[in-house]
């Protein structure tokens, strides 16, 4: 009696598990955390805790662990990498700079934090990602105007950053009110790299120099050209976050226990706590593809009034095109709502470029007339938006000209010719009688 019920329960549980697991996210949940000191694990536990609470499986390793490996038997062991080992001169095991770059090339995500002890290895990885740290190893970002007021810190290297990128998808929809505390080294985005975005920029009064020595020559990085935190989304949608401050992620900076709260110099407003916790949580959500990842499914096209997809269109046909776009919300795929998804009808160059209309439930559609040029065309959607993964998909379709019997048949302006020939024929018919039988 009990056994069948138990079996039923088991089946139900299995079904529930299958349903729960049905929505598969765009990225896996295995993260490798490389530290140069295990103390970072406790000093940054709030950040790690928030990752673990979101379902990530963190593997903490010392950066010089001799058994370190990113892949085995051609399979990557991790889906993301958190590099909190700024001072490590070289990684242990089979991991080196190239291995990390290949990891990114394979479409994996990386969070890299440096500080004033940043090694050449870490700087090298950052450079390959389009971010150049200040070359002076003693330099720190100093800002004598926009610093955070604390009782114990007087050299103005604790920056209260509030020049954040305007992007809901990277920083979350809730505005970060409190300044983000930063202490570390500055960097610039390489001008030739268009994939890097400055997420947290320094203020115009900031500069990057050694606070302990007098300045003889102008510092190489000044003003809002300094980026404190940058992100890079590669063409394969791998995301990399680069921060010049490891402390940015620490419990202390995101902590609510700072006795006096956070106050930016010159501003009256005192914030209960720094914006760091929100900043690192939201940006890490973005980096690990919990937000801003789009997928397109059900690409369809057909002639107006039909439902089947033809293998070929004729010039001047009217057609309808539709595609469904969804965004990963961290737990499920939600319809993506925007009004700027565009379709191109493309042969060497776009012949038609049209913004698609949406039903706000993820379906984008448009209709247009096939151009009167025949050849092999493509339906092409190239969707690049700030913070979102790029969507790029094409579908090839040939377009043929009119067949001989598809042209217009009875043209009014040709009627004089028709009547002329037919009246001649009629006259010939009558004339044949007259000619043969007249007497």
């Amino acid at each position: 009696m009990a056994t069948p019920r138990r079996v039923l329960l088991l089946l139900l549980a299995l079904a529930a598990a299958a349903l729960a697991g049905a929505e598969e996210g765009p990225r896996g949940r295995r993260l490798l955390v490389l530290l140069d000191d295990l103390a970072v694990r406790s000093s940054h536990s709030a950040f790690f805790g928030s990752l673990q609470a979101r379902g990530f499986d963190l593997d903490f390793r010392l950066a010089d662990d001799p058994k370190l490996s990113l892949h085995r038997y051609g399979q990557y062991l991790y889906d993301g990498l958190v590099l909190f080992a700024p001072s490590t001169p070289r990684f242990g095991g089979s991991v080196d700079q190239n291995a990390v770059l290949e990891f990114i090339d394979a479409g994996h995500d990386v969070i890299l934090a440096a500080d004033s002890s940043a090694s050449d290895l870490i700087r090298g990885i950052a450079t390959e990602c389009g971010v150049d740290f200040d070359e002076d190893p003693e330099a720190m970002v100093i800002d004598h105007i926009n610093y955070a007021v604390t009782d114990v810190d007087g050299d103005h290297t604790l920056i209260a950053g509030d020049d954040l990128i305007q992007s809901d998808v990277i920083l979350g929809s809730k505005k970060i009110e409190a300044p983000v505390l930063f202490r570390g080294i500055g960097h610039t985005a390489n001008p030739s790299n268009s994939l890097v975005l400055k997420v947290l920029s320094a203020s115009p009064s900031a500069y990057s120099a050694n606070p302990k020595t007098k300045l003889a020559s102008p510092p190489s990085l000044t003003g809002s050209a300094i980026s404190l935190v940058s992100v890079m989304q590669a063409r394969n949608n791998a995301r990399v976050l680069i921060s010049g401050s490891l402390d940015l992620f620490s419990n202390l900076f995101s902590n609510r226990f700072l006795k006096s709260g956070v106050q930016k110099a010159g501003s009256k407003k005192r914030h209960e706590r720094a914006g760091n916790e929100q900043f690192v949580t939201e940006t890490s959500k973005w980096v690990f593809h919990e937000r801003g990842h789009l997928k397109a499914i059900n690409v369809k096209h057909h002639k107006v009034g039909e439902t089947n997809e033809p293998g070929m269109y004729r010039i001047n046909d009217d057609l309808e095109y539709s595609v469904e776009i969804y965004e990963w919300s961290g737990t499920s795929w939600k319809p993506y709502v925007a009004d700027d998804v565009q379709l191109q009808f493309f042969m060497m160059s776009p012949y038609v470029l049209k913004t698609m209309s949406t039903d706000k439930k993820g379906l984008y559609s448009t209709s247009f007339k096939v151009p009167d040029v025949y050849g092999v065309f493509q339906f092409k959607v190239e969707y690049q938006r700030l913070g979102y993964t790029g969507l790029s998909f094409t579908k090839q379709i040939p377009v043929r000209p009119y067949r001989h019997n598809e042209y217009e048949r009875f043209i009014t302006s040709a009627y004089p010719y028709y009547t002329a020939s037919f009246s001649t024929m009629g006259a010939f018919f009558i004339f044949s009688f007259v000619y043969l039988y007249h007497k």
Partner: protein
């Protein structure tokens, strides 16, 4: 492997220094921040439990020390502990140890009978084992039960003491059991705590010579202590890659627990230097707010042992604020407290030396700080010290008022603290102007008020110079040299040039000779915006001020001149929708209007109508049509055939295509040739007959 990591311990020390020196590089006593941190870290789960026994003990013990409320979890935790204690035979000694200590902390009511069973089991373990951890758990468990009012006497204390002592090493460290070769500092702490327990449980006094040996071990152990430059001491394992490596916090905590417990039970005083005890206190406070529950427990418990011990009670000198403003006449405030922030015994604090940022002695006048009894703060006005703005190291000396306190409290004597003195810097005599290159005569000098935004507009060519000068004076009237004095020229095309304004003894003055700078300016003529940034850590009125603009007329760039650097492309430009494109269709050919076509259709019909009228006028007849039935039939068929061909042409126009038309035309053609031949030959034979007739 060791070769690849030449100095792991040294590296770790360095890293630890980095990890433990975030915002609060200052050592401050335990405060409410720690309480809220502890409450957060030890938050019980939904069902009111903390996890396993060890964690539960750490939670309730931390709460007890910090004076936090834990009554709401008492019932759950007591039940949890009682469950373990009820079945001593099946539980591990470790669980019994933690359970007994939970009951002790929370004051759970446990039956004497239950404890009898636990005591019997623990005593049995002590007899049999040779493992340090088993000793530690058993002795600790017994001690905890004894402290709860249960009468326990360890009859063979002497032999247990010897058994534990047998594990000690010559350098003061201990092994975990007789079989293990590795010795560890962490184990030393555990062993000392166990020994202290044995002494406390012993029925008779333990052999004083043995206690003396252990005291000696402790002194040796303190020889292995490690330190930072700032007087912080901590314990760590010799080999960090050992299997049982715990990290400096746990290791130091273990030693502090062991040494202070042992000092409590052992007669006489331990011979430990006071600055090392003080250094340990600084180490635990220097952690600041711990990140994990384990660290929090170790930090708080160690500090509580340091607060009350028979060796030395560390007194911590700390500054509530390290930034003092001359403008608001801040007082130099110094707190001397125990690690938990309670008041120190009567003492004097003297400021003995003030060092500049380059370790130059500014003043070495001995000043005694006044004591504010209400707030428990020693204070001193800064103004009489005649210290200017800047970064200083202050050296304080603490001296206890009562000599007998010297052996109880560790003050560390001299303490050095780094402070910043800030003030408003007076900016005046600011002038900007353009002068000619050769004569040096200043043509147009404008006075600037750098306290407000100014908008000067200047123009110059490459033969002229731009001069900018101003003075910065500290509140005490000295020339102030800030860290950041930048003049920025920004061209319309976003090319920036930054100059450090050099300061002399009297003023800051920069002269930009454009003749020498044309190459650097990439021969870019046009409008340059001027911006002056002056800032320093000690300057309260740091500013970044736009000065106005400069129209610069530079010569044409020669061919080989360097190109201005590429400006970063706006990364946002690739986002956003593109302009729509719609295909322009070929326009249809022009056609005449319908009416015109129809009119011409009518016109083309006119000849046909004329032809018909002509025939009627001629009086056409068909008298020649064959009268004989045979030829008449063939003639009819012939004309019907012609008609059919013409009809086929109409059909071709209307619907048929060329191929069907040709097919039908073929059949009709053959038919027409046949009937046509018959008809025409008949007609010709008739006409020949008529002619011959």
């Amino acid at each position: 492997m060791a070769g690849r990591r030449p100095a792991p311990a040294a590296l770790l020390v360095l890293l630890l220094a980095a990890a433990f020196a975030p915002i609060s590089s200052a050592v401050r006593p335990v405060s409410d921040a720690h309480r809220s941190a502890a409450a957060e870290l030890f938050a019980p789960s939904a069902d009111g439990s903390f996890g396993d026994l060890e964690r539960t003990y750490e939670a309730v013990r931390t709460f007890q020390i910090l004076g936090l409320k834990y009554k709401s979890v008492t019932g759950e935790a007591c039940k949890f502990a009682a469950e373990k204690l009820a079945s001593p035979a099946s539980s591990a000694t470790k669980d019994l140890f933690h359970a007994a200590r939970i009951s002790g902390v929370l004051g759970c009511s446990v039956d004497a009978g239950v404890y009898d069973g636990v005591v019997a089991r623990l005593k049995a373990v002590i007899k049999d084992t040779n493992s340090l951890l088993e000793f530690y758990y058993s002795v600790g468990g017994l001690l905890s039960i004894k402290e709860q009012g249960h009468n326990i006497v360890l009859s063979d204390a002497e032999s247990t003491f010897h058994a534990i002592k047998a594990l000690s090493q010559s350098d003061g460290r201990w092994r975990y059991d007789t079989n293990s070769a590795e010795s560890s500092t962490f184990a030393a702490g555990i062993a000392l705590e166990a020994l202290a327990g044995v002494v406390a449980l012993a029925d008779a006094e333990v052999d004083p010579s043995m206690v003396g040996v252990v005291k000696n071990d402790i002194v040796k152990l303190f020889d292995t202590i490690k330190s930072y430059d700032d007087g912080t001491f901590y314990f760590d394992e010799k080999h960090v890659d050992a299997t049982e490596y715990k990290g400096p916090i746990m290791t130091s905590a273990s030693v502090v627990r062991g040494v202070t417990s042992f000092a409590t039970v052992a007669p006489g005083k331990l011979n430990i230097p006071s600055e090392k005890v003080l250094g340990l206190g600084k180490f635990f406070l220097g952690i600041g707010l711990p990140g994990s529950a384990k660290d929090c427990f170790n930090q708080i418990e160690s500090l509580s042992f340091l607060e009350n011990n028979r060796v030395f009670t560390p007194l911590i000198l700390s500054l509530p604020s390290k930034v003092f403003s001359l403008t608001s006449k801040d007082q130099l405030k110094v707190e001397v407290t125990t690690v938990f922030g309670s008041a120190a015994p009567p003492l004097k604090v003297n400021l003995v030396q003030v060092l500049g940022s380059d370790s130059k002695v500014i003043t070495s006048e001995n000043k005694e700080l006044q004591f504010d009894l209400d707030n428990n703060v020693h204070y001193l006005d800064i103004a009489p010290l005649k210290i200017d703005v800047g970064k200083y190291s202050l050296v304080f000396e603490i001296s206890l008022k009562e000599p007998e306190h010297e052996s109880v409290y560790a003050t560390g004597g001299r303490n050095t603290e780094n402070v910043f003195i800030t003030g408003l810097i007076k900016v005046d005599k600011a002038e900007i102007g353009i002068s000619d290159n050769d004569a040096g005569t200043v043509e147009s000098v404008q006075k600037l008020d750098l306290l407000k935004d100014t908008k000067v507009s200047l123009s110059a060519n490459h033969l002229q110079k731009l001069r900018l000068s101003f003075q910065l004076t500290t509140p005490l009237g000295h020339t102030f040299k800030p860290h950041q004095v930048f003049l920025k020229l920004k061209h319309e095309s976003n090319v920036e040039h930054l100059f450090v304004v050099p300061g002399s003894a009297r003023q800051f003055k920069i002269v930009l000779d454009f003749l020498g700078l044309v190459e650097k300016f990439y021969y870019l003529s046009g409008r340059y915006d001027l911006e002056l940034a002056v800032g320093d850590a000690a300057m309260e009125n740091s500013f970044l001020r736009p000065l106005g603009h400069l129209e610069l007329d530079l010569p044409e760039a020669p061919e080989k001149a360097p190109r201005p650097p590429a400006q970063a492309v706006d990364p946002f430009s690739k986002f956003g929708p593109k302009a729509e494109i719609s295909h322009i269709f070929r326009s249809p050919e022009k056609r005449p209007p319908k009416e015109l076509s129809l009119a011409f259709t009518g016109l083309t019909l006119l000849p046909f109508i004329g032809f018909l009228i002509g025939l009627v006028c001629l009086g056409v007849n068909l008298k020649n049509f064959p009268s004989l039935p045979g030829p008449a039939a063939f003639a009819s068929l012939f004309h019907a055939g012609i008609g059919a061909v013409l009809l086929l042409y109409v059909l071709f126009w209307l619907k048929l295509d060329l191929f069907t038309t040709l097919k039908y035309l073929g059949f009709l053609g053959i038919f027409l040739v046949f009937v046509g031949h018959r008809t025409l030959s008949y007609l010709s034979s008739v006409s020949t007959k008529q002619k011959t007739a």
